[in-house]
Amino acid sequence: MSAPASDHGHAEPTSFTFSQENLELAKRIIAKYPAGKQASACMPLLDVAQRQNGGWLPRVAMDAVADLLGMPRIRVYEVATFYTMYNKNPVGRHHIQVCTTTPCWLRGSDDIVHTCKKKLGIEVGETTADGQFTLGEVECSGACVNAPVVQIGDDYYEDVAPEHMERILDALARGETPKPGSQTGRQSSEPIDGPTTLKVFTTAQADATTAQADD
């Protein structure tokens, strides 16, 4: 079932060094924790390393974090393999993570996955030949009220319907950044047909945002 993380057929880089800028950032992160407890900075530093390395964490980057924090390398390896948000394999420029846990599934996440597959010509877990898109399925993204949810990079796209998904992928392919958040123009997680209470206070605001979303 599970293969060792080292064995996925991709070429591991042989070295990793934090950029000057990221090293400064790492030092600021480490400074948040009391002296002697710098291992607490492990997770944010892995994130910094992953961002610097184009969205994935090679083992040399884990080693760099371990060495920076004075931790045994295996400890960092344990953390990195525990969390699915650290990608141990290379990903495309846009990492599309479709939530397929129950609420999203009930609201049609299967169609979203299908749309992605059709549009990109790849299966779940694969990357397009041009290295632009990686498609992934994830467990609950924690935004069930706005299901179905797709996370692309750092942004959440909510209330996604297949046609929204196509639009988003097209926009990304063109190099644009589609507007994140609810794709139907819903304000945060209010009822889908608009507010049912406190209308007096929200109508003006809601009108304003709807107008904005329609732009």
Binding site: M1, S2, A3, P4, A5, S6, R59, P72, R73, I74, R75, Y77, E78, T81, F82, Y83
Partner: protein
């Protein structure tokens, strides 16, 4: 002190005692997998569940401290049901391969499944399979059997101090692995298989060779270093099948170094199983009578001052004592048990013993290592220092080489001049020593194995005196020996007598033709080229350096093949017991000396082992206190004098091959290849 009721029995326990420990005090057995009394408590296997009044659910007894007024039940319906549930989950992914599993018959999971398992599985899905991992030359892995108790991770992190093992991935994908696919660089890695409650980690050299119920178990002591670890030798027929540690909290706790554990295959190779005599430059097999006659012929008319003896690292006390008696009857006083050429004063016991005891390390607050690499010279002493380090508030410093000792320490100097600076207080570290309550100094053979050994010993003593290491309530002056025979030899008086030569003098004399007869009692670590034209008798169990040079070979018994006394570095006499008989015509060593004495017409006055022991005890009463240490009275020792500024060098270049047994071992050769590596300089005698 909390008072609680367990199964209707009231018990009062020390604060901080867990319910599981309290149950053990009452003799109630609690099943467990992840809990190990010498490791931290993760409470992740859930097998030790008990029912507690006013608790909504069963609690993990290993992690629940006793509280006042608790009412605990360990045998109720709920408890049984909970444990059965846990067991069923553990067995979901555990293969049913007990018949081909090396742990079979001594497996915690197997035993506890007898009590808490169902007679059939309800799990119809595919079981999970996990790729096996490489963990080095001594640990075999079958990771599908792993139940993720994490004992191995905790052992290697906490006790061994080599964080090479971890758990990767999560949930049902969790796997135990090394980082990544590398050999575990610890001298204690064999203990991983001991702590593993299932057959996931087993001993590679023991794989598929025996079943525990076929083995004859003999409780004895280890002699491959001077620690004197307590071991159990498991034998089947004439063969030693494996070596396991025994619990002794004063010495090895329940761990064992890889050399002590896996060298046993060396006991089956290169053995001397019959006497040999050199004829026309070649060793030819002979009978005992012929061998003794050849020795007698050579000794005839020889003056005592032309006879000498050197004893080796693995020799028991009885043989050394018997040979000493024989030599004194032949008029010789040239005998030495320090074949490595170490120079130290043996007139005062405190000057050559590990006075605080190995357990005493836990009381020290400043530890100064002098010319020693305890990780290689006394692996379990090092483990104890690490245990002290983990307890906190200790300063560890070293005078000598920079090595990875598995705990942080500072190198404050490289040679004897640093000791002198500490004596006169001019070294910055003097301040730390002065502030210490229980300072400790551990001097290794690297400090004595040099021309100025006696002066170094005196300097170390002066450091001890200056900082209160010789007190009525604390003795912090320790010598870490490297050979199991050494302290026993000294206590038995196998030392140069009046006008006698030490090992340097003997070799010097032999090369100059001043010594005609050298008796090597298991001595292999000497420069045999220096024996010149002397007639050499080698008594020992392996065809190593000494036997190659010998004119007559007398086949002796290895430590697993005789009843004998060994004295460890603490000065603690311990009994080695016969587990298997010596091969072929080989005999117990004291008997050989006794038989030879008769041929020489100088019959030694003992016919049985009992009589020999009696004489031994009369000569030195410490041999009577088996298993105990006799505190050594303090008196000045060493010889103050000029010291060389050369840095201390550790005497061991390859941990895995230090003596004839480990040099003959294939497992140790594999370890050397995998772990010592080509970077390590290999000399003629070390590999």
């Amino acid at each position: 002190m909390p008072k609680l009721t367990i199964d209707g029995i009231e018990i009062e326990v020390e604060p901080g005692t867990s319910i599981l420990q309290a149950c053990e005090q009452l003799g109630i057995e609690i099943p467990r997998f992840c809990y190990h009394e010498r490791l931290s408590v993760p409470a992740n296997c859930r097998m030790c569940l008990v029912e507690m009044e006013r608790a909504p659910k069963p609690v993990a007894s290993c992690a629940m401290p006793c509280g006042d007024g608790m009412v605990v039940r360990t045998n109720s319906e709920t408890v049984l049901k909970a444990r059965k549930g846990v067991m069923e989950f553990l067995l979901i992914n555990h293969p049913l391969d007990c018949p081909i599993c090396d742990q079979g018959g001594e497996c915690d999971l197997q035993d506890q499944a007898m009590a808490y398992g169902f007679d059939r599985g309800r799990y119809g899905e595919n079981k999970r399979a996990v790729e096996d991992k490489y963990m080095g030359p001594v640990i075999k892995t079958i990771m599908t059997r792993c139940i993720h108790c994490t004992r191995c991770i905790r052992f290697i992190n906490e006790v061994a101090g080599v964080p090479d093992v971890g758990a990767v991935n999560r949930g049902e994908h969790m796997e135990i692995t090394t980082f990544v696919e590398k050999a575990i660089g610890s001298e204690l890695s064999g203990n991983l298989a001991d702590v593993c409650p299932v057959g996931a980690l087993t001993h590679k050299p023991y794989a598929f060779t025996a079943r525990p119920w076929e083995l004859r178990k003999t409780e004895t002591v280890d002699v491959l270093d001077a620690v004197g670890s307590n071991i159990r030798v498991d034998a089947r027929g004439p063969e030693v099948m494996r070596v396991l540690p025994r619990v002794n909290d004063d010495i090895n706790e329940e761990w064992l170094s890889d050399k002590s554990r896996y060298s046993y295959d060396g006991l089956k190779r290169q053995r001397l199983d019959r006497p040999y005599i050199r004829q026309n430059g070649k060793l030819v097999p002979a009978s005992w009578a012929e061998a003794f006659t050849a020795i007698a012929a050579r000794l005839k008319g020889l003056l005592g001052n032309r006879i000498a003896a050197i004893s080796g690292d693995l020799v028991d006390v009885e043989a050394q004592f018997a040979l000493k008696e024989l030599l004194s009857r032949l008029g010789s006083t040239s005998l030495d048990c320090r074949q490595d050429g170490a120079r130290f004063d043996t007139s005062v016991r405190a000057g050559y013993l590990f006075n605080s005891g190995i357990a005493g390390i836990e009381k020290a607050d400043v530890i100064l290592l002098v010319g020693t690499n305890p990780r290689w010279e006394g692996t379990l002493v090092n483990a104890r220092i690490r245990k002290r380090y983990l307890a906190g508030n200790v300063t560890i410093a070293s005078i000598g080489e920079q090595r990875d000792l598995t705990y942080p320490y500072s190198v404050i100097g490289s040679g004897p001049e640093t000791l002198q600076q500490l004596v006169d207080g001019s070294h910055p570290f003097a301040e730390t020593l002065r502030a210490a309550k229980n300072p400790m100094i551990i001097v290794g053979m690297g400090a004595f194995r040099r021309a100025d050994g006696l002066a170094v010993q005196a300097a170390a003593r002066l450091v001890g005196e200056a900082y209160g290491m010789f007190r009525d309530d604390w003795s912090g002056f320790n010598v870490l020996h490297t050979a199991a025979a050494r302290v026993g030899g000294i206590e038995a008086g196998f030392l140069p007598g009046e006008g006698g030569r030490d090992v340097h003098g003997i070799l010097d004399g032999a090369s100059k033709g001043e010594i005609d007869f050298v008796y090597l009692l298991g001595a292999d670590e000497i420069d045999t080229a220096k024996l010149g034209n002397a007639f050499v008798v080698y008594q020992g169990h392996h065809g190593d350096a000494g036997a190659h040079r010998a004119d007559v070979i007398l086949p002796g018994a290895a430590y697993t093949e005789k009843n004998a006394v060994y004295v460890n570095t603490e000065g603690r006499p311990q009994l080695a017991r016969l587990a298997v008989f010596p091969p072929g015509e080989a005999r117990e060593d004291w008997k050989i000396v006794r038989a030879l004495s008769e041929v020489l017409g100088n019959t030694l006055p003992f016919d049985t082992h009992g009589q020999l022991r009696q004489r031994l005890m009369a000569a030195n009463p410490i041999f009577g206190a088996v298993g105990e240490t006799t505190p050594a009275a303090w008196a000045p020792f060493g010889a103050q004098g000029p010291v060389d500024t050369a840095p201390f060098v550790t005497p061991i270049t390859n941990f895995y091959m230090t003596d004839p047994i480990s040099r003959a071992s294939v497992t140790m050769a594999n370890c050397t290849e995998a772990l010592v590596g080509p970077a390590q300089e290999r000399t003629g005698t070390h590999g």
